[in-house]
């Protein structure tokens, strides 16, 4: 098992490194930050000065090496926009993003999985149809629209919650709710389908034949098997949360990483973009690694091969 984890960790690191390199190179080919930052009316001298200031006049391999050197010491450069340390910018925005996305993810799981289980157990009943219709509806309406609808209902009409910003805990409710509901719908649908497939397996019929009570069949016999594909799906969902963050933060003006990222890309703030992508990569890689480990823990067929 230890060897398994080590080899996966090594692979994760390789992904991180190659992503950093790739993004670095691509960003430097994606247009001139000097132009974007300083605007149309900047003089060529000003642009040249900008490039020298930020080391953009050196060759790309040289830039990368310098970047690596600094990065390994924790210095990710400064924002072209306001000169702040990129490290500080990230330090400030990560907690905001995590608050919304992690809470939303947890709530989505707490809502979605039980809903999916109930729908599966009582398939084709009224409860099943109700739950699934809700889920399909939840999946069909785009998240930004749901967000706007929530803002309209709760902030404009009922006036119980603030519409945007990120100062108090009340500001967090609507973004979390929007995010959570959409993902809960996906989880419910998937959980239902997976559980139904498991329930059709011969070993479940055999367990019924043994006289094992239905509650035990679901809990001890069916769910452990359904958990295997479910964990994989949750992993994919978790990585897609990163994209969703950007959307939700924009709709609600929630100043997390997503919003920062959008700004930085628009402005060509290379250091910020670079660092954010690295952070995203770390998240994705960590999530994938966790999923792989969980999968191995849950699936004896994988365990016995290691």
């Amino acid at each position: 098992m230890a060897g398994f984890i080590l080899s996966k960790a090594a692979r994760a690191f390789a992904v991180l490194f190659s992503t950093a390199l790739f993004v670095f190179v691509v960003l430097r080919f994606s247009g001139d930050p000097a132009e974007r930052m300083l605007g149309e009316f900047a003089t060529p001298e000003a642009q040249a000065a900008f490039r020298t200031l930020w080391g953009l006049d050196k060759s790309i391999p040289e830039q990368f090496l310098i970047y690596l050197q600094h990065a390994l010491q924790g210095d990710f450069g400064k924002s072209y926009a306001d000169g702040r340390d990129v490290f500080d910018i990230i330090k400030q925005s990560i907690p905001k993003t995590l608050t919304v996305s992690v809470s939303a993810f947890v709530i989505a799981i707490l809502l979605g999985i039980p809903a999916g289980i109930v729908a599966a157990i009582r398939r084709d009943s009224a409860v099943d149809r109700l739950v699934m219709a809700t889920a399909v509806l939840g999946n069909s309406i785009p998240m930004f629209l749901v967000g706007l609808i929530f803002i309209f209902i709760f902030a404009v009409w009922l006036r119980v919650l603030p519409s945007s910003g990120s100062s108090t805990w009340r500001h967090a409710i609507l973004p979390i709710a929007t995010f959570a509901l959409y993902n809960a719908a996906s989880i419910a649908r998937f959980a239902r389908a997976t559980l139904i497939e498991v329930l059709y397996q011969p070993y479940i019929a055999a367990a019924r034949g043994d006289g094992i009570p239905p509650s035990e069949i679901i809990l001890r016999h069916a769910l452990p098997n359904a958990a295997i594909p479910l964990v994989t799906m949750l992993g994919i969902l978790a990585t897609s949360l990163l994209g969703g963050t950007v959307l939700v933060e924009t709709v609600f003006a929630w100043t997390g990483m997503g919003a920062q990222f959008v700004r930085a890309v628009g402005q060509g703030d290379l250091n910020v973009v670079q660092a954010m992508i690295l952070v995203f990569t770390v998240f994705v890689v960590t999530i994938n690694l966790t999923v792989e480990i969980l999968y191995a823990l849950l699936n004896p067929k994988i365990r016995s091969q290691k």
Binding site: P202, Y203, A205, A206, G209, H221, N225, P300, K301, S304
Partner: protein, 312 residues
């Protein structure tokens, strides 16, 4: 001989559609007896097992007739029934160890826990011919071959100390050399525990080896039931006779190729009028086309559902 099980006019259908998987099945089983159910796919032999074992699949319901049990263990009505299935590996939960599987059964049936359960589980594994029992307890079904998993299922069945073991095509998915081992194991267990056995197989050799009496099924009905030597050597029902003749043999002196039965088994939603076998039967005449013949005795313990049975 105690009567263990009486099935009377059992009907199992698909509700809403006019399909009867079991269409009035009647037979009985005494303690210690072995009954073989023979027939081709779709005849209802597996469904009969599920009905008795109280595990009819979703969507099917018992719509008539009765299953009644004779004296059971410790005063309860229903005898202890255990079941083993055709594909052993997929009948075992892939995330449960063999040990969990056996020990939960031992708790359920014998209230054994902890070390007692573990020791008994090991003893059961050894009894069914699996050595290194201790190390096997922590293993998973996918790590074993089909033959071993079938032994595990038998061990699991034994944990219930069953009075009746229902075996649905237990050796069909196994190699012939493994089949011989499992059949021998079942013979030994029968002799040791005195349990009754209901065995379903399309292989008449398996029925010949294990059964005391046999019932031949066709389209959800039993068409003949008799002691096994009579079914195999002097079958009365034309279908039973045809079925025996179309089984190939390995006897090199027997150069007769298997005799095919003309036509094919009718679909359950499109059964012929009268006796279901009449389109393929060389003896069909008169009443055969009007009413399905009732089971009637031709000899002691030998019943046939036919208006023109083949004479002995």
């Amino acid at each position: 001989m105690q009567r263990l099980l009486t099935v009377q006019d059992l009907v199992v259908e698909v509700p809403g559609r006019n399909i009867k998987i079991l269409n009035g099945v009647s037979f009985s089983l005494d303690a210690g007896q072995t009954l073989g159910l023979v027939g081709e796919s779709g005849c209802g032999k597996s469904m009969t097992c599920y009905a008795i074992g109280n595990m009819l699949p979703r969507g099917l319901a018992q719509a008539g007739g009765s299953i009644s049990f004779g004296p059971g263990q410790s005063g309860s009505m229903r005898p202890t029934i255990a079941m083993i299935f055709q594909d052993p590996t997929s009948s075992l939960n892939p995330v449960h160890t063999i040990g969990y599987y056996l020990e939960t059964a031992l708790y359920r049936h014998q209230r054994l826990k902890g070390n007692d359960a573990r020791l008994e589980a090991m003893r059961l594994l050894e009894r069914v011919g699996i050595d290194n029992a201790k190390s096997r307890l922590g293993a998973y079904p996918h790590q074993f071959s089909g033959g071993m998993n079938q032994r595990v299922m038998i061990a699991h069945a034994l944990a219930a100390k069953p009075q009746l073991l229902i075996a649905d095509e237990p050796t069909t998915a196994l190699d012939v050399t493994m089949q011989a081992q499992i059949l021998y194991l079942l013979e030994e267990l029968k002799a040791e525990t005195g349990m009754a056995l209901m065995i379903v197989s399309h292989d008449l050799g398996v029925i010949a080896r294990l059964a005391d009496k046999a019932a031949v099924m066709y389209c959800g009905k039993i068409v003949e039931t008799a002691p096994v030597e009579q079914i195999l050597r002097k079958p009365s029902h034309p279908y039973a006779r045809a079925l025996i003749n179309c089984m190939p043999s390995i006897d090199p002196a027997d150069h007769e190729p298997p005799v095919p039965i003309p036509g094919s088994v009718p679909l359950l939603d499109n059964l012929p009028e009268g006796c279901y076998y009449n389109p393929r039967c060389p003896r069909a005449a008169g009443d055969c086309f009007r009413r399905f013949p009732p089971l009637s005795a031709v000899e002691q313990a030998h019943e046939v559902a036919c208006y023109h049975p083949v004479a002995a």
